[in-house]
Symmetry: C2
């Protein structure tokens, strides 16, 4: 089930969501858990979901989800899903702010071979 890892490729047509949550440090772990549960229970079963990756901010006040959807339309359909809305409301109630933005990958760069 974990064979398909996130693949970051320019021009793939994938719609990337990068959602930066700002949260009180004492609730950071709780927010990660909520986002993981929402993803496992709801998001990953919705049409067009490809992957999500949860990131814990080292300074304690941020959690960022790097997620991929097959298209913007699939992402927007998720926003209208009642079960997804329940989870999103719970996350919103826990955080200071969340900043979800959609992107396309334009280039990738690797370390120099030298």
């Amino acid at each position: 089930m974990e064979a398909t890892k996130t693949s970051i490729v320019p021009g793939s047509g994938v719609c990337t969501l990068i959602n930066v949550f700002t949260v009180a440090p004492e609730r950071q772990a709780e927010l990660v858990k909520l986002l993981e549960e929402a993803t496992e229970e709801v998001m990953r079963h919705l049409p067009g979901f490809i992957s999500a990756n949860m990131h814990r901010g080292l300074e304690g006040t941020r959690v960022t989800n790097y997620a991929q959807w097959a298209s913007r339309e699939h992402f927007e359909a998720m926003l209208r899903d009642p079960k997804a809305q329940t989870h999103m409301r719970a996350a919103a109630a826990m955080v200071e702010k969340f900043e979800p933005h959609l992107y396309e990958v334009v280039s990738t760069h690797q370390r120099s071979a030298s």
Copy 2:
């Protein structure tokens, strides 16, 4: 040279930088180009650089770099590098704001097999 793609793996010890730039729409393309040049000319030759991935915001006002460093210490050494500083100052002068934060990957989630 492009064989090593970004691999998002919990517990790998990789230090992830997610830097969200907010920019005027008419300068978005210019900012992407500057970040790409900085990465190709300087960043990817520095010790501990693993990868960078440039993302163009669909609404026109954001550019986000998803980058990986071997450790926080490598990232902080980059911040002190004079050539890197030149590029970072140029980017800072072009944008409304930039919000660089460091993360560790805590979990990855893929689409349901069903």
